[in-house]
Amino acid sequence: MYRSVKYMLLVVASITLFISSCTCPCEQEVSSPDEIVAQAMEGLEMITPEDLKQKMDSLEMFYLIDVRELGEYVYGYIPGAINIPGGILIFKMGNEAFWDNEMIYPPEKTDKIIAYCKKGKRSVIAADYLERLGYENVKFLEGGWKAWEMVYPLEYEENLEMLGGSHDAEEDAGGC
């Protein structure tokens, strides 16, 4: 009886090993984009709007990157943020010409970088990519632009001229 028990245990152990090896996050398919975000978030640091404001007020040196599309950025962005849409982010980070154009020094791998998007998800993936590129000091803004807006609705810059077109006709005297 003991031999068959031993064999059974061996089989069970090997099955368990096999299954556990399949849980490597690298190749496994996920059932929803939120799972990709959740996986990317592991090991990433986040920052709240209040802490970000504190950093800004303290004149600390850091890169604030808005990873939304240009068409979202111009309507309102956190003061001092540079717009690098998520799709081209990893390609622009090391691009000297790009940073020359922005008139900003290209970020070192040790520089502080904070990424944000509209609600937080895109910035998680962006921050994850930045870490993989070797940037050591990357954070993402919890809740994104929408969270910032709720806490500091008057602290924003916009660039509507970039959209072209003229302002709407003058406002009528309010009311319903």
């Binding site: 009886m1 309507y75 008057l154 005297a173 309010g174 009311g175 319903c176």
Partner: protein, 540 residues
């Protein structure tokens, strides 16, 4: 034989477990049984009366008052019913805790949206069910001042004019409208209740134009593909008195329109879930998110209002989603969609910050939902226990009197410039002076802006049952929806760190003890086998 029995014994327990799990997993879904409601398919929906056949409605109507007179020629006492309601008076006598009975309503209450109507009646009364309320001289007793058509129009063509005290637009064909009347639908109620605050979904968050034609995902009751219920199906109306409360204006726990009225308080066919109804409102689990289609306004900062463009004209700027981000007349806004509600204890009683009240907390609580965990209603006086409710909280900054320490009412609208209306003249001081004088209330001359909060309990945009909250949404240590409601112990969310620490220490210590003991036994056993004694013992 014994081996077999051992094997059977060992296998039996896991098999039993599996079998029992299967049994439990089959959720029996008997379908939804409702009481006090007859499905539309089972009702005779054809109207009993054909109003096109009445001559009195074919006459040319000089003005809207004449239409009302025609209606009243048959529906002779309806104006009396109307004049007793809060839809007409825009106020209702209600008890405010500690203050007695106070007449309260849109007429005199302050909110943190457009603040109040005083001084701007002519435009605000576009949503009044009457004609001609442009100032304090409006005759609330005149029967023909009632607007029957706004609620009963079934043509969809009846519209009230802007800034004209509630009169219909000149383009409306009053004969056509008055001969096609019926029970109010979502469009009748929605034309005002969806657009409150100056735009679609500004105020409620869960009431907006998408409900006119939506899917079951958005609202299971009002979906066109479902039961397609109208507002009055739940807000049952007797003699023009509608059941239901809006706690922006109301304060007493009476005349509620509740889920239990149709669904009973045990609709789940499961004791554990039904028991939640003792402390958790139905809405909490069944409205997991609001503003599902169009954005709702979450923040309104009046302090930045008044900026004019290079021509000295008012302007507005959109945000990325197309909502107004900034308006010269109103200030800066923040919008959001798919918003997760905030949760508060609520027992159906609310308090209000009246214009005469001192500001004693910041942010100013425009209305306060009363309730707490301890208010259990059991063996206690409160008949309606406090339950956890989902709430939209609208935050903002609005104008107040820095010396008198009260909120103030500025005059916002006028037909032309020079009347001190802020929306045309952009002078805060003048507007507040004008507004407060209109109300015969004092104003010190010094104004500032103060943070405010207003609470809107959610009742609409009920999600399908499959999307209701699951246990883990609240009973979890991280990211619990009730993370901020911590005046009570919630299993799964709360722990006592001392208990955890001592418990885990106990376990670790016992594990260490056991391992050390085992190691020593192994060592000493080996020693014993190698020892002289044992060898001698064996040899002999």
């Amino acid at each position: 034989m014994r081996k077999l029995s051992v094997i059977a014994f060992v296998l039996f327990l896991p098999l039993l477990l599996l079998a029992l799990i299967q049994l439990n997993d089959t959720l029996n879904d008997p379908g939804v049984t409702v009481y006090n409601y007859v499905k539309k398919a089972d009702r005779n929906m054809t109207p009993s009366v054909d109003h096109t056949q009445f001559e009195i409605l074919q006459q040319p109507f000089e003005d809207a008052h004449k239409v009302t007179a025609a209606c009243l020629s048959c529906h002779t006492n309806r104006h009396e019913e109307i004049m007793a309601t809060s839809h007409w008076r825009w106020q209702r006598d209600e008890v405010l805790e500690g203050r007695g009975i106070i007449p309260l309503g849109k007429k005199n209450i302050l909110n943190n949206f457009c603040i109040g109507i005083a001084g701007s009646e002519a435009t605000c009364t576009r949503c009044h069910i009457g004609y001609g309320w442009v100032d304090q001289s409006f005759d609330f007793k005149e029967p023909t001042n009632v607007d029957c058509l706004i609620c009963h129009d079934k043509t969809g063509t009846y519209q009230k004019e802007k800034g004209n005290g509630g009169y219909p637009k000149a383009s409306v064909d009053l004969n056509y409208v008055s001969t096609h009347v019926g029970s109010p639908g979502r469009d009748n109620c929605g034309v005002c209740h969806f657009w409150g605050g100056g735009g679609n979904n500004v105020k409620h968050g869960d009431l907006e134009i998408s409900l006119l034609d939506c899917t079951l995902e958005v609202d299971v009751h009002m979906a066109t593909e479902g039961e397609n219920m109208s507002c009055v199906d739940c807000h049952v109306t007797e003699k023009h008195q509608m059941a239901g409360k809006l706690y922006a204006l109301s304060s007493e726990n009476k005349s509620r329109a509740t889920c239990e009225q149709c669904h009973t308080n045990k609709p789940h066919n499961d004791k554990i879930i039904d028991d939640h109804n003792l402390r958790v409102a139905c809405q909490t689990c069944h409205i997991p998110v609001y503003a599902k289609v169009n954005d709702t306004k979450m923040y309104w900062d009046w302090s930045s209002a008044g900026e004019l463009d290079e021509h000295g004209e008012a302007f507005h700027e959109p945000d990325v989603d197309g909502n107004h981000k900034y308006m010269s007349i109103k200030g800066t806004f923040v919008w959001a969609n798919h918003v997760i509600p905030e949760y508060y204890w609520f027992n159906g009683i609310a308090d209000h910050q009246l214009i005469s009240d001192q500001i004693d907390t910041i942010p100013v609580q425009m209305n306060r939902l009363m309730g707490s965990y301890r208010d259990k209603g059991l063996f206690q006086e409160s008949e309606q226990p406090s339950k956890i409710w989902p709430v939209k909280v609208h935050r903002g900054k609005q104008i107040y009197d820095m010396v008198n320490n009260t909120l103030v009412q500025p005059k916002l609208w006028a037909k032309e410039k020079g009347k001190n209306a802020f929306w045309l003249d952009f002078d805060w001081d003048a507007s507040v002076k004008e507004g407060m004088a209109y109300l015969e209330l004092p104003y010190s001359g010094e104004y500032g802006f103060v943070e405010t909060e207003m609470y809107w309990p959610l009742n609409h945009m009920v999600s399908p049952a499959s999307q209701s909250l699951k246990c883990i949404d609240c009973h979890t240590r991280n990211n619990s929806r009730l993370a901020n409601l911590n005046d009570f112990y919630l299993p799964g969310r709360d722990t006592n760190w001392q208990v955890e620490a001592s418990g885990i220490t106990l376990i670790i210590l016992s594990l260490i003890g056991v391992i050390i003991h085992a190691i020593f036994r192994v060592i000493f056993r080996r020693r014993y086998f190698l020892s002289k004694k044992f060898k001698e013992g064996n040899e002999s």
